[in-house]
């Protein structure tokens, strides 16, 4: 199942930019740890409200060194700033909000995504811990609660394994929740009929993307290069 890392695609920053262009104005969005956090750099000034699951709405950009306030961090433990109209609440209220359907979109990282939209993202069995132990964090609530789940990840693992798979072999975060997958190589929509390849990175073909994707992709008749 080892697939060669033969293609050069988008940087992490450009994956984030592609996702930023997917987000709609007037919405409330939660960004997970990792590449998702980078999305915030691309939406400054737009009419999008970021929620930080530790208990904040309308999170501002990262704090500069002299703006650092130890009581004001985002869910990745980074010092941030507040914007006009920011507000604070308990972590419990924050997850009430998440499960209650107030996140228009959640952008999450993933270890594996299946063709049915199953998401595995909280535990890598390679770490050797018991299978019910690991950093679940907010991922399961976000995956279940958000209206739209967008995955930001590299297309294959560092050691050349599929991450887009027929069935997840890693512990699940949630079943049938993923709507869109944005990787360094492609933009893929999860549909009832299967995975729809909508966009490919510059210089790649649908066949190239299929060669590093385990399940059979449906190629969109409107297939384009990834656009921002």
């Amino acid at each position: 199942m080892n697939v060669t890392k033969k293609f050069k695609g988008l940087s992490r920053e450009l994956i984030a930019l592609r996702i930023a262009s997917e987000l709609e104005d007037g919405t409330c969005v939660n960004l997970g740890i990792g590449i998702p956090t980078l999305v915030s750099d691309w939406i400054e000034g737009r009419d999008i409200i970021l929620q930080a699951e530790l208990g904040m709405l309308n999170t501002g950009p990262l704090a500069s060194k002299d703006e650092v306030e130890q009581d004001l961090i985002n869910a990745s433990c980074q010092p941030v700033t507040e914007l006009a109209g920011s507000c604070y609440f308990s972590e419990n209220e924050s997850f009430a909000m998440i499960r209650g359907g107030y996140m228009d979109a959640a952008v999450l990282g993933a270890l594996q995504v299946s063709e049915k939209g199953d998401l595995a993202g909280w535990q890598n069995p390679g770490r050797g811990l018991p299978e019910d132990i690991g950093n679940i964090g907010g991922s399961m609530d976000l995956a279940v609660g958000a209206k739209k789940v967008i995955i930001a990840m590299m297309h294959i693992t560092n050691d050349g394994q599929y991450k887009i798979v027929k069935e997840c072999s890693y512990p699940l975060t949630a079943q049938r929740v993923v709507d869109l997958i944005v990787t360094d190589l492609a933009v893929i929509e999860v549909t009832k009929k299967g995975l729809l390849l909508r966009e490919v990175a510059s210089g790649l073909t649908a066949e190239d993307v299929q060669s590093v994707t385990e399940p059979k992709l449906i190629v969109s008749p409107k297939l384009t290069e990834i656009h921002f």
């Binding site: 690991g134 679940i136 964090g137 399961m140």
Partner: protein, 233 residues
């Protein structure tokens, strides 16, 4: 009803071996480190620690593990390092060695279990965790088209919480993202010990600005503003 204790040591003095203690804090924000240090000094053993994560980031909870004071940890994001990188914490080592029991819940379920305990709710049905290892051993029920898991209330003996300001009656005002778990842990615990940066007289906190009603808080201790800073992942 003056709830102020003169020192951290006195505030934690009666915690017995085997107690369960909820500790507030989301990574570095709102973690009552001085209370954790006082507990390490006090030495109670066989503790159950209920907190988001065991450190580093709030390194001093790891200290309790190094001291072998902790029998069990109930967390939602126990290890600071991500799934694939970073140093292995003393907590992770203890879990691997079978020296520390651990239960992990989704972040929303974790605080909802505490909230339920404080609110006299025995159990609740959440959609989170269905179809994952989290559902093991739990009752499932369908409401409408969706399946839900039955999760039980979680009632700690003690809570350690942090607040920007607290008055002698136990009313607490929190600051920004340092609020996180403090309100629900305060309500859930039998005895809540609040470490406050600013000690106020009753009436000095606007009643609409009280985030944690005094009735939930049994002990108040003044601490200096912690001088740790967020570490960046």
């Amino acid at each position: 009803m003056d709830k102020v204790f003169p020192s951290l040591d006195e505030a934690v003095a009666d915690i017995p071996d085997g107690a369960s203690i909820a500790i507030s804090g989301f990574f570095t924000a709102g973690t009552p480190i001085p209370l954790i240090n006082a507990l390490a000094k006090q030495g109670a053993k066989d503790l159950t620690i209920i907190c988001m994560q065991m450190g580093p980031g709030n390194e001093d909870i790891n200290e309790l593990v190094i001291n072998k004071q902790v029998k069990k940890a109930i967390c939602n994001y126990p290890f600071y390092r991500s799934a694939s990188r970073g140093a292995e914490s003393p907590t992770e080592q203890a879990v691997r060695a079978g020296e520390l029991e651990m239960e992990v819940y989704p972040m929303g379920t974790f605080s909802e279990k505490l909230r339920a305990a404080g609110a006299g709710i025995a159990a609740f049905y959440t959609p989170t965790g269905v179809g994952t290892v989290v559902e093991r051993g739990k009752e499932k029920k369908k409401f409408g088209e969706q399946e839900y898991l039955l999760e039980l209330a979680l009632k700690p003996d003690y809570a350690f919480v942090y607040a920007y300001k607290g008055d002698r009656m136990g009313n607490l005002q929190c600051h920004m993202t340092a609020r996180n778990y403090s309100p629900e842990m305060s309500a859930a615990a039998q005895i809540t010990i609040a470490a406050v940066e600013n000690l106020a007289e009753p009436g000095e906190i606007d009643g609409d600005m009280v985030h944690i009603p005094g009735v939930y808080v049994q002990r108040v201790v003044k601490i200096d503003r912690p001088d740790y800073f967020p570490t960046i992942d």
